[in-house]
């Protein structure tokens, strides 16, 4: 099968969820009451907004991840042709890794990897 048939897997996955949600929204008995629609935070009424400013630490890690993930994408083609690239390719990738390591070290020393 060719790569176009991936669309089949997309459709079947969507079908599985869709049909079950449809069934579940039609067949089971429903009842409404104001308490049911409250957010469940262990019985205490929710206080203030939920969608507010969040700890910046998570975003910092997301940014560092973005850099490293792009670097990983560069390593993939080298890994496949590693044997043909030989020693010259190896030395080049060592330099690449060195720069990558410097980047990690910089982020480390800068305190970006520290959780506060």
């Amino acid at each position: 099968m060719s790569a176009e048939s991936l669309i089949l897997f997309f459709i079947v996955g969507a079908f599985l969820v869709g049909i079950a949600l449809l069934f579940s929204s039609i067949v089971p008995p429903t009842s409404t009451n104001p308490q049911k629609a409250e957010a469940y935070e262990c019985g205490i009424p929710t206080e203030g907004l939920t969608w507010l400013q969040f700890n910046v630490g998570y975003y910092l890690f997301a940014i560092i991840f973005l850099i490293f993930d792009v670097e990983t994408v560069f390593i993939f083609p080298w890994a496949v042709v590693m044997k043909e690239a030989g020693i010259a390719g190896f030395i080049e990738i060592v330099i690449f890794f060195f720069v990558l390591g410097l980047g990690l070290l910089y982020a480390w020393k800068k305190g970006a990897l520290k959780w506060e």
Binding site: L6, V17, A37, A39, C42, F65, D69, M82, K83, L104
Partner: protein, 362 residues
């Protein structure tokens, strides 16, 4: 080699040819797609239901309990009963929640895990699509699941959900690097990303044995990182029930909750089967160097048995982790990845590349 007695290539090909002979091309395509879709759908459901049951039994075993034992012999129909019960539950919507995103989230997690199954080789000739970039494709598709988790937490309008989703986002994207890099170590050794070729290359010995110490290190890192990537075991901060109720799926009820649950177990199955395929030889039997008789006997054990045996072993390891180790804190979790696993991994790839270049591998 004797293992082509279990080759599925001719079997699938003959079905394909027969369909195109009997029917006009358009209808043959439709029928073929329907058959493939149904087979994978049924397989997906059975594996998912079985894994939920297995988890409960293993958990009970670890805690010296009996586990589910009422519905059917040894309780094997328990998860089916649970599924029917969840299907008959009302879908509750929370006041002020973002209904569109709230409904899209289960679609994304299920579709991501279902598409990843497409590339997994179950036996020789028994895979839906044999990509030449198979390993990279699976990494890419499984990481889409985090979008669903983030949407679920964000749209629920619940603070526990939001915290759970944020944690899960930071955790999954961090550990994805380690998953990718530890698989890269093996790609360096194999020189290909196509799953069928990766398995064929292991006919003379699994990569974990062929690759010396770097392959073993990569295997251990892959196990840790993939456990974290599937939000399981000691890394289940996203749904830490003692502090966040149920984390990102607190507000999900009925069948939607069941889909998150199913996706978690299917992701576990996917990473376990990648580990089995890339490190432990997939459906390839266990061979010892020049022991002709031993190798010959091993060839008679069907590849599906080998494949599911190895996968089940790794799944069991992951369940063992879950019920053994206490949960990590978020700072410990991120420290482990960025200050230990990532540097070790980078050095590990270089060592592996050096070994391969020098021709020191088997």
């Amino acid at each position: 080699m004797a293992f082509n007695i279990y080759d599925f290539t001719s079997f699938t090909q003959s079905i394909d040819e027969a369909l195109y002979e009997w029917l006009p091309p358009f209808w043959a395509l439709i029928v073929e797609m329907t058959i493939i879709g149904l087979v994978f759908l049924i397989g997906y459901a059975i594996i998912g239901l079985f894994l939920v049951y297995a988890e409960r039994k293993v958990c009970a075993f670890m805690q010296n309990r009996v586990g589910p034992n009422r519905v059917g012999p040894y309780g094997i129909f328990q998860t089916i009963a649970d599924f029917i019960k969840l299907l008959m539950k009302e879908l509750v919507y929370i006041k002020n929640s973002d209904k569109l995103l709230f409904n899209i989230a289960p679609f994304i997690v299920i579709i991501a895990s279902f598409m990843a199954i497409a590339a997994i080789p179950f036996a020789k000739g028994l895979h839906a699509i044999d990509f030449d970039i198979g390993i990279m494709y699976v990494i890419a598709v499984t990481s889409l699941g985090v979008v669903g988790v983030l949407l679920a937490g964000w749209s629920s309008n619940n603070k526990y959900s939001l915290i759970g989703a944020m944690r899960s986002g930071a955790q999954i994207i961090s550990y994805e690097l380690s998953v990718g890099l530890s698989l890269l170590t093996i790609i360096v050794l194999a020189g290909t990303m196509q799953f069928s070729e990766v398995v064929e290359l292991q006919s003379s010995g699994w990569f974990i044995f062929k690759g010396h110490i770097p392959a073993c290190i990569a295997f251990v890192i892959f196990l840790i990182a993939s456990t974290a990537e599937t939000n399981r075991g000691p890394f289940d901060l996203a749904e830490a029930e003692s502090e966040l109720t149920a984390g990102f799926h607190t507000e999900y009820s009925g069948i939607k909750f069941a889909f998150f649950f199913l996706a978690e177990y299917m992701n576990m199955f996917i990473v376990a089967s990648i580990a089995a395929t890339v490190f432990l030889g997939g459906w390839m039997p266990f061979h010892i160097g020049s022991w002709e008789g031993f190798n010959y006997v091993m060839d008679f054990i069907p590849p599906l048995f080998w494949y599911f045996g190895k996968t089940a072993f790794i799944i069991w390891l992951m369940m063992w982790f879950k019920w053994t180790f206490p949960r990590l804190r978020i700072d410990q979790l991120l420290n482990l990845e960025w200050k230990y696993l990532l540097p070790i991994n980078l050095v590990n790839i270089l060592i592996m590349a050096f070994i391969v270049l020098m021709g020191w591998h088997f």
